[in-house]
């Protein structure tokens, strides 16, 4: 049944949504939107590395994104530049370097649009394996570090004082971010991955009053976005990434209705 490209894309997308749901909540809570964006931009460099060294794309993107995260941490320690400037610097320079390298690799034909915005035709059976095993590992690790990560998100000092080792949890979370970008780049495209992380989580925030609820709604929102997005991408012949993100946006707008109601109730 995986012979059909559309079924493959659907299975891939659903796998990605299961992972981006909970991770996206932490991206929203910890204000890491631009951090995610930076890692995603650097993914292009990872893709070019994969082609030139004949590596697996997901693996190569994972390595480059983790490397960029490490460089960011070092720059934060060693320079006096504000965090957002450093993020912008890394995001755009790694994107630019990636594009320049592509120019040199004349022997390969790149589908730039596919890289930037996702391409459902590109999803292979191997990709499905990577997405689902990689996704399972990411979710398992996230479950293991959930308590220290969540506690330090609420209050770093409480977590540290009560022996939860928040620094380790944060470091592991950074690696998970790189990993989720690596497995979803083909599907959503590097410019829109952060949207997949943030928009379902933001939608979930509007309709939940506890962290677990927000995670569950965020996953459901992601799954719905993938289904709606892919079917409409098939229908209207649009890129898969933007279609999924637009679907997520529509869900977000619907969730705003809930806010209006709860404000009315308060008054």
């Amino acid at each position: 049944m995986f012979d059909d490209f559309f079924i493959r894309a659907l299975v891939a997308g659903l796998g990605i949504a299961l992972v981006t749901g909970p991770l996206g909540c932490f991206v929203v809570w910890r204000r890491l939107s631009y951090f995610g964006d930076t890692l995603a931009h650097s993914a292009l460099l990872g893709v070019t590395m994969a082609y030139s060294l004949e590596l697996n794309i997901a693996l190569s993107v994972f390595i480059i994104s983790s490397l960029i995260a490490l460089i960011l941490i070092q720059l934060q320690k060693k320079t006096n530049l504000p965090g957002d400037a450093l993020l912008g610097l890394l995001a755009h320079s790694s994107l630019a370097v990636g594009l320049v390298v592509i120019g040199f690799l004349t022997f390969i034909r790149f589908d730039i649009m596919g890289l930037l915005f996702g391409d459902i035709l590109a999803v292979t059976t191997d990709d499905l394996l990577i997405i689902w095993t990689g996704g399972a590992v990411i979710l398992l690790v996230l479950k293991l570090i959930w308590k220290p990560l969540f506690a330090s998100t609420v209050n770093y000092e409480l977590a540290e004082a009560e022996g939860l080792n928040p620094d380790r949890a944060k470091a592991i979370f950074t690696i998970l971010m790189a990993a989720v970008i690596a497995i979803s780049i083909k599907m959503v495209g590097l410019l829109l991955i952060t949207g997949m992380l943030i928009i379902p989580a933001a939608m979930a925030r509007n309709i939940s009053d506890s962290p677990i609820k927000m995670v569950v709604y965020s996953i459901i929102g992601g799954l719905l976005s993938v289904i709606l997005g892919l079917f409409s991408s098939l229908e209207f012949n649009t890129s898969s990434g933007p279609s999924i993100i637009v679907a997520a946006l529509i869900l977000f707008i619907l969730s705003l209705l809930n806010i209006k109601q709860s404000i009315k109730l308060k008054n």
């Binding site: 809570w29 998100t153 609420v154 000092e157 925030r205 506890s210």
Partner: protein, 248 residues
């Protein structure tokens, strides 16, 4: 690691420097099981810093800290909860440890905020939040409780009740307490050991000893020293509602 009798945490000549400025230095204190150690001192004297050194929040410190327990309950002085987090009181109680539902209810009842269990943390008043913070810290039955001005913003009657509760917890759990407080009146009745800070340990000892100390008097004024000594004498009688004196 040798453990001296009942010591839970011990600071040896500890200090912490931030941006080239000492926040506190040369602090040597120990908190033992079942004992309440109180840190007093003016604003900026390094009380919270000392607590954070003891908790291991500050890493690059001078001197050393020996911590013999990982069962710690902490009520920080300042805590702000981000509105981006949907979190109810109940979720907050489970923040660092999984606790049974009835234990949560018990702790929230003790601090008088059980009715807020399903409320969103962001909607609490300052005093209510403070009671939740205390409930969370005692709920996990810690061996060491670090309370940094735990009753700030709590109404007057609540303040007394909470201090009584803290004393009761120290007795029943037999845990050690490191307490920071400005309220000399209420604190001194329960404290075993007082450390008076002013960037360094200016004096320390039993409440009575500290009250007599001249440095303490210059720091807090004559009145403060009288407050401390008031609590040193033992009452051998109680007053009934009608004002009669009853011998114990």
């Amino acid at each position: 690691m040798s453990r001296e009798n009942n010591t839970l945490v011990k600071l040896n000549n500890a200090g912490f420097k931030q941006n080239g400025k000492w926040l506190v230095e040369g602090v040597t204190i120990a908190v033992e099981k079942g004992k309440i150690v109180t840190l007093i001192g003016p604003n900026g004297s390094g009380k919270s810093t000392t607590a954070k050194i003891a908790l291991g929040i500050y890493k690059n410190i001078e001197g050393s800290v020996e911590k013999y327990t990982n069962k710690v309950g902490y009520v920080p002085q300042k805590i702000s909860i981000d509105w981006t987090l949907p979190i109810r009181v109940r979720d907050f109680m489970l923040l660092t440890e999984n606790i049974k539902e009835e234990k949560i209810d018990e702790a929230l009842s003790l601090t008088g905020v059980i009715h807020l269990k399903n409320k969103s943390l962001g909607n609490l008043s300052g005093g209510e939040f403070q009671r939740v913070l205390i409930a969370r810290a005692i709920c996990k039955k810690p061996e060491l409780l670090v309370l940094d001005e735990p009753v700030q913003g709590v109404d007057y009657t609540g303040e007394i009740a909470l201090y009584e509760l803290i004393k009761k917890i120290s007795d029943s759990l037999h845990c050690g307490i490191l307490l920071i407080s400005h309220d000399l009146h209420t604190v001194m009745t329960a404290t075993d050991y007082v450390v008076c800070l002013n960037g360094h340990v200016c004096c320390s000892g039993s409440p009575m000893d500290v009250a007599k100390n001249n440095e303490y008097k210059t720091l807090f004024g004559e009145q403060a020293s009288q407050i401390l000594s008031v609590y040193e004498h033992k009452h051998d009688h109680v007053h009934s509602d009608e004002g009669e004196i009853k011998k114990n």
